[in-house]
């Protein structure tokens, strides 16, 4: 039995087998072989397996993200069947008598190079596809385990997880996350909370753990490899207690979110994609307070079209019925990067070219999204909000684009709702300080506590070394929240909180005292927060 301590993120306990996710650079050796027929057979077998994986990924993506985004896996299947590509691999094995791994890697590099040298951006980007299929085959040849091969749910152990990786995981196959890097506000952490899974970060992980039985305790931040019977018994009891508490919370479904002194608030859900609406409704969300639209961009190989976006927004609007759905426009940049945006390297990305700054600088991207949102507004109760606002001018520019888009739709005879509520995120100290002015221009504020804390305390939330002084209950942060709520009300705007702090039940009473109108939290936190509101004075 081996116990390691880190920082617990997602609450709860998971018991299961470890899957060590190693995405690291594959070392391919130039190994000579003598039996070329056997080596060719090895390659054919690996290729068939890769085709099978791609077929499964296509089916899964079709279900999760729709046809247009799933097509990439079909393209990969076709590329892997390309005659020239296959001939080159077989040539290297037959004539140079080198191993299949080397043949595939070299061929992949050559073809990737060919595309990378093309002029047109679209064809340039295909270079990544060739690399991707080649790496897949090499991984299979070298016997590395693939997450898509899993048959039972596992504890995922990795160095770190990027948003673009996490979207590929089949969520029904995950029990818990354990990572080396990351902080309490990293994407791993947000994902764990979203999925209501235990997670521990800051662990010195070891590839030798792969396949071993383990316990992840999100309460204490402990990971135990090959636990003994005694600990197993103890942890099973904790799991059972969690289960009981969950059942108790289930009884709060359908009850109004109203405090003992009669203060009623709206309890909304944060969602990161179309498929999260199920969890939101299951947990009795009264609406969606933060629909992160980035997933459309992160899961895509190129700018998602107006129609693709429209379908996603429309589906969420329809799924939620007459409940309000607040769509936050594109919030990329900083720690969320997408290749085709070509954002370039920044030394200080959190303070850099991101979110609304990209949108106002590249209006063609912004307009496409606004048109898609307004078209979808005809199918439900949508609202729209803009991230990373720092000035009145930005708000006025956003509103001007909205007016233009509405005019266009009207001229084209496309239906939309005229009274879509418009709001902004208050996540910079600048916006909080001038919130009285901003409130007069919008219908609502949503306070993003993660970034507000980061900018107020000047603490990079991705930096694990600063975790111990990253105090989200800092009086300065709480004062900015209080002030924003007061100023919002003065200017006639309702005010919600959608950052991680909204789910912190030790602050629920404080937020009620501040006069907050709405709290938006991960679906799994809706019932615990309702419980906290009901029990507050």
């Amino acid at each position: 039995m081996l116990q390691v301590k880190g920082k617990g993120i997602g609450k709860g306990v998971a018991i299961g087998r470890i899957f060590f996710y190693d995405k690291g650079d594959q070392q391919v050796n130039r190994t000579s072989i003598s039996d070329t027929a056997a080596e060719l057979a090895r390659f054919e077998e690996a290729k068939a397996k890769a085709q099978e994986q791609l077929g499964r990924l296509y089916e899964k993506a079709l279900e999760d993200v729709g046809e247009e985004n799933a097509a990439i896996f079909e393209v990969h299947q076709m590329m892997l069947d390309d005659d020239d590509y296959l001939d080159s691999i077989k040539d290297i094995i037959n004539n140079e008598k080198l191993c299949a791994e080397y043949a595939v890697a070299t061929t992949g590099e050559n073809f990737a190079e060919m595309f990378a040298n093309m002029e047109d951006d679209y064809f340039k980007a295909r270079s990544a596809d060739v690399k991707d299929i080649s790496e897949r085959v090499v991984r299979i040849l070298s016997g590395a385990s693939e997450i898509s091969d899993l048959t039972e749910p596992v504890i995922l152990v990795a160095e770190d997880l990027a948003p673009s990786e996490t979207v590929q995981f089949d969520k029904s196959k995950l029990l818990a996350f354990v990572t080396h890097l990351g902080s309490a506000n990293s994407h791993t952490a947000i994902l764990a909370r979203m999925m209501n899974l235990p997670a521990v970060i800051g662990i010195d992980i070891d590839p030798a753990w792969n396949g071993k039985q383990a316990i992840v305790d999100g309460y204490t931040g402990t990971v135990t490899i090959e636990p003994d019977d005694e600990l197993m018994k103890e942890m099973l009891a904790v799991k059972q207690k969690d289960e009981e508490r969950r059942n108790l919370l289930q009884q709060l479904k359908g009850k109004p979110t109203i405090s003992k002194s009669g203060k009623k608030i709206r309890l909304y859900a944060n969602i990161g994609g179309v498929k999260d609406t199920g969890a939101a409704l299951d947990n009795d969300a009264e609406g969606v307070g933060l629909f992160r639209s980035e997933f459309l961009y992160l899961e895509s190989e190129d700018f998602p079209s107006e129609d693709t976006q429209f379908e996603a927004y429309k589906t969420v609007a329809q799924n939620m019925g007459d409940k309000q759905v607040v769509i936050r426009t594109l919030d990329l940049g900083a720690d969320k990067q997408v290749d085709y945006f070509d954002l370039g390297h920044e030394d200080n990305p959190a303070m850099g070219y991101r979110a609304i700054r990209i949108c106002l600088d590249r209006p063609e991207i912004f307009r496409t999204q606004l048109r898609a949102i307004f078209r979808a507004s005809a199918y439900g109760n949508l609202a729209i909000m803009f991230p990373m606002i720092i000035s009145l001018d930005e708000v006025l520019q956003c509103k001007k684009y909205i007016e233009e888009v509405k005019e266009e739709l009207k001229a084209e005879g496309i239906p939309y709702k005229d009274d879509v509520e418009i709001g902004i995120m208050i996540e910079t100290p600048a916006a909080a300080v001038i919130s009285e002015t901003l409130a007069k221009e919008v219908d609502f504020f949503s306070i993003g506590t993660n970034d507000l804390t980061q900018y107020t305390l000047a603490i990079d939330r991705q930096n694990a070394k600063l975790e111990n002084i990253n105090d989200s209950h800092h009086p300065a942060v709480l004062e900015l929240i209080r002030m924003t709520i007061e100023n919002g009300h003065k200017g006639g705007a309702w005010v919600g909180i959608c950052g991680e702090l909204a789910a912190d039940t030790s602050l629920t009473k404080t937020f009620l005292d501040f006069g907050v109108d709405e709290l938006s939290v991960s679906p799994s936190f809706i019932l615990p927060v309702r419980d906290a509101v009901i029990n507050a004075e």
């Binding site: 097509a71 079909e74 393209v75 590329m79 069947d81 590509y85 060919m114 595309f115 679209y122 596809d129």
Partner: protein
Amino acid sequence: MKSFNYVITDEVGIHARPAGQLVQAVKALTSKVTIEANGKSAEATKLMMVMALGAKKGTEVTVKVEGADEDADVVKVEEFFKANF
């Protein structure tokens, strides 16, 4: 040998997915189909080479069809181009 010229109207050009479908369609024919564009030439059964032509919107391509069934096949290939590119 039969041939036809065609100017690409699709926004992205001969891009991956329809190019893959073209490869599959041509493999079902008996004729040998060659595409010429931008001074390069590619056999239509070879996906990566077809993509490497870099045919974009406005590019004029020449498609050559050669074989025993070329009269029937050239019609099918031309229809495919009109429908997809």
